[in-house]
């Protein structure tokens, strides 16, 4: 009868433990990364007594989490894939806004206005008012070149800032993973799988996968070795290799004015461009490739624009009365008031960042009559220079004489529109895949309240029944004891 009592007790324990686990599952139904747990129950070790095999009730073998490593890996990959495209679409949307001329005016419009203002000046080359209209339009062009440049720069800076913030977050996560590695190793040395700790470690890896593509394997003692694809090991056992960011003042690197990512203890080996997938790779690709290319194209357009306008403008004579020598040649002896060879725009010092530094020449700023229209002195009605400048609009002066300024600029807009559209599409698609993978994981590991409710009823019944068994045993004791009376 003592056997009966103890069998009842084991049943009671097992049911209670199962109920506890059900409770734990329900309590964590909404915990991110939680995998439902299950009690593995076994029969007690049977004993042989009097030639009979006696069962000894049940025992709890262990509590395991329902988890699929393969699905987990797929989830990490889908996460880094999606966050790559999501971030890329987000950043490119900002970039394309700079070139959005659908509902507002942009460089294309002001360039067009600039050339048409020279056509207008061609109508009435002797008119001072139109000269000032031309100058105002030229200023608008310069302003828009600057707007594009500064907006692109600020997107670039924001990306660098975000990279910096990301690295801080990454460092925190990998430190956490290293700590979890240690905890898991300790707790699993004395017992079975530490499900909850493993769940939170997997969750951390998933967070890490948002930043870049991760590669994870177990070192045999239940500790993870985490590395970033293309970069190197970040966590090995209980040790984390921290990352750092820095600009040009880092030792041993080519200064390019940009923020770079490297291992804290190896500052001379930046791996900014080696990061694959994830938010970081997307931001760096947009910053270093897309924005870089756009900036180069806009600079080139600005450079060619300024130089060709200048080249034509220099050949014109000022719109003032000029003294002629007996041969009909203009006398040009006042250095401060040139009559010919005047630049319209200030001559740029270098091609790089030109769109930021462009300005009208000081002559044009000082005196409207320095805007030239005539190819011969004292010819106020001569509009040939103005016409020639207006015709630059359709001259193929770029890319070895195959592209006009407008075409080149529109090409840039087209490219940015295309890649932005592609990134958006990819982001939508990868979002679908991520959701699918998440749902596969959740279907497998997630808590179902219905299921837990059914289990609760089941385990409670078992608990009740085991208690009944014990009660019966107690009654049997009473019966036996009452024999003596």
């Amino acid at each position: 009868m003592a056997d009966l009592l103890s069998i009842g007790k084991t049943g009671l324990f097992a049911s209670k433990k199962s109920l506890e686990t059900t409770g734990h599952n329900l309590a964590n139904a909404n915990t991110e990364g939680f995998s439902r747990q299950r009690v593995i129950q076994q029969t007690g070790i049977p004993i042989v007594k009097g030639g009979l095999i006696h069962g000894t009730g049940s025992r709890i073998k262990n509590v395991v989490r329902i988890h699929n490593e393969h699905v987990e890996k797929k989830l990490h990959d889908a996460t880094s894939e999606h966050s790559f495209f999501k971030e890329k679409a987000f950043q490119l949307a900002q970039v394309e806004d700079v070139f959005n001329e659908i509902n507002q005016d942009g460089l294309n419009k002001v360039l067009n206005k600039f050339f048409n203002s020279f056509r207008e000046l061609g109508n009435q080359p002797e008119n001072e008012t139109i000269r000032s209209y031309v100058r105002d339009n030229a200023k608008l062009v310069l302003k828009d070149f600057k707007r594009i440049k500064t907006t692109l720069d600020s997107i670039d800076k924001n990306i660098s800032r975000k990279v910096q913030a990301n690295v801080v977050a990454i460092n925190q996560i990998i430190t956490n993973v290293a700590t979890l590695n240690k905890k898991i190793a300790t707790s699993e040395s004395s017992s079975d799988e530490a499900s909850d700790l493993r769940d939170s470690r997997d969750n951390k890896i998933n967070q890490l996968s948002e930043f870049f593509q991760t590669k994870v394997y177990s070192d045999g003692k239940g500790r993870y070795v985490v590395s970033a694809e293309g970069v190197g090991t970040l966590v090995a056992g209980g040790e984390a290799q921290l990352l750092a960011v820095g600009g040009d003042n880092r030792t041993g690197s080519e200064p390019d004015g940009r923020m770079h990512v490297y291992f804290k203890n190896r500052p001379s080996y930046p791996f900014t461009n080696k990061i694959k997938k994830g938010e970081l790779a997307a931001m760096i690709a947009v910053r270093d490739q897309d924005i870089g290319q756009l900036r180069k194209n806009v600079d080139l357009v600005a450079f060619e624009f300024i130089n060709t306008v200048n080249a034509i403008h220099r050949r014109g004579y000022v719109n003032r009365q000029v003294k002629l020598d007996p041969q009909g040649k203009a006398i040009d002896n006042n250095k401060n008031h040139p009559i010919n060879g005047i630049n319209f725009f200030a001559v740029p010092k270098e091609l790089k960042n030109i769109s930021e530094n462009i300005a009208l020449s000081k002559e044009v700023l000082a005196d409207l009559s320095n805007i030239t229209t005539a190819m011969s002195p004292n010819s106020p009605g001569d509009n040939r220079i103005a016409l020639a400048i207006s015709k630059l609009q359709s001259e193929k002066i770029l890319d070895n004489g195959t592209t006009t300024l407008e075409e080149k600029y529109l090409q840039s807009i087209g490219t940015i529109g295309l890649i932005s559209g592609k990134a958006k599409l990819n982001a939508d698609q990868s979002h679908g895949i991520l959701n699918q993978t998440k749902s596969v994981k959740e279907r497998f590991s997630g808590v179902s309240i219905d299921e837990e409710a059914a289990n609760m009823v089941r385990y409670q019944h078992a608990y009740d029944a085991s208690a009944k068994v014990m009660k019966t045993a107690e009654e049997m004791f009473q019966t036996v004891l009452s024999i003596k009376r």
Partner: protein, 362 residues
């Protein structure tokens, strides 16, 4: 049958709702702007086409302005030519009458006063202005092209305007063309930009070279061209200028000098000279008629260019609308449909989220 957990079903509902909502938002934006695209990435290719059309439309607007301006100039020129012809015809009639020996010197002297008056009228016409601009001065538009003796002070500049893409027409006749018969520059209208060879080929910029250095190279080549233009220019000026005319032995055949000679002939009672002049008057008149035909044909091509631009503008507007305007009927039926989808998504979500076994067994 696959297992369903709390998170998987709520995620499914979330995903469905957010997808339906983002589609509705997109449609709403299209509805509020009435445009089928609002960002370059919505349709990169059409966006470029739309921008090109916008530029071309703006250019056309300017060409239209240019055409109107050219029309103003040409019709003023035409009127002036008509008046000059009238004066010459009148002069010729007088000349025919006076060529015979019917009249004596007194009558001729009186008649000469009338011719002097005609000459003054001619001078006024020759210094005709539009606004502040003298139209017969070539490029010298700010000072009177003819002095009171009928000497030409302008040059042979020909002002051209672009009235539709790459189509330039001259908008002025210079004084020498009209009043000096032996100037042969009148017949041809050169493209105003033919001297700008450097626009044909690209100035190359090697990345390695400093812009300053490149500038210098370019400058050099430009100066060469410059020089040749300069030479031509001054040559032409000499041809037209009256300085040469005054010194030359043989007087140039000039309408003013014809009138002056006529006045002298009348005053000196010289019917022989008047007879000689008659032929010259005829020559001048026929030249003026040729010029008028030229102006007339320019006006015609202006008109046709203008109607061409009008037609082009309509085509552009049509294309622009096709590219960027939203199809209203389609848009609103889409919105309606999407609203319905969102509503059913909500209802479906309500069915799956609100009930658990707990409600029944415990």
């Amino acid at each position: 049958m696959s297992r369903v957990s709390e998170n998987s079903s709520s995620a499914a509902v979330n995903f469905a709702i957010s997808r339906a909502k983002s589609k509705l938002e997109d449609l709403q934006l299209k509805g509020s702007t009435m445009k089928s695209m609002n960002r370059p990435s919505d349709n990169p290719v059409s966006n470029i086409e739309s921008l090109t059309i916008k530029s071309a439309t703006a250019d056309n607007k300017q060409y239209m302005r240019n055409s109107n301006f050219a029309q103003l100039n040409l019709s003023a020129t035409e009127h002036a030519l008509e008046n000059i012809t009238d004066i010459l015809v009148k002069t010729k009639e007088i000349g025919i009458a006076q060529a015979s020996d019917l009249y004596n010197s007194d009558v001729r002297k009186n008649i000469s006063n009338e011719v002097v008056q005609l000459r003054n009228e001619l001078l006024v016409i020759s210094n005709k202005r539009i606004g502040n601009k003298y139209i017969f001065g070539g490029y010298a538009t700010t000072k009177p092209p003819f002095d009171k003796d009928g000497n030409y002070r302008g040059d042979s500049g020909q002002m051209a305007l672009e009235i539709s893409k790459d189509f330039f027409i001259p908008i002025n006749l210079n004084g020498s063309e009209i009043f000096f018969s032996d100037d042969d520059s009148s017949a041809k209208m050169a493209h105003p930009l033919e001297k700008f060879q450097q626009m044909e080929r690209t100035p190359k910029y090697d990345v390695g070279k400093e812009p300053k250095q490149l500038e210098d190279e370019k400058e050099e080549s430009l100066q060469k061209i410059d020089h040749s233009i300069q030479e031509k220019q001054t040559q032409k000026r000499d041809l037209a200028s009256n300085a040469e005319h005054q010194n030359s032995f043989k007087p140039r055949d000039n309408i003013f000098s014809q009138l002056n000679t006529f006045i002298v002939a009348l005053e000196s009672n010289d019917p022989k000279l008047i007879q000689d002049l008659l032929e010259k008057f005829d020559n001048s008149i026929s030249r003026l008629i040729t010029l008028r035909t030229r102006v007339g044909s320019l006006m015609n091509s202006l008109e046709s260019a203008k109607s061409g631009i009008d037609q082009e503008n309509i085509d552009f507007a049509t294309r622009q609308s096709q590219i960027s305007d939203a199809d209203v009927a389609e848009l609103f039926s889409d919105i309606q449909k999407q609203q319905q989808i969102l509503k059913t998504t909500y209802q479906a979500g309500k069915a799956s989220l609100n009930r658990t076994l707990m409600d029944f067994v415990l």
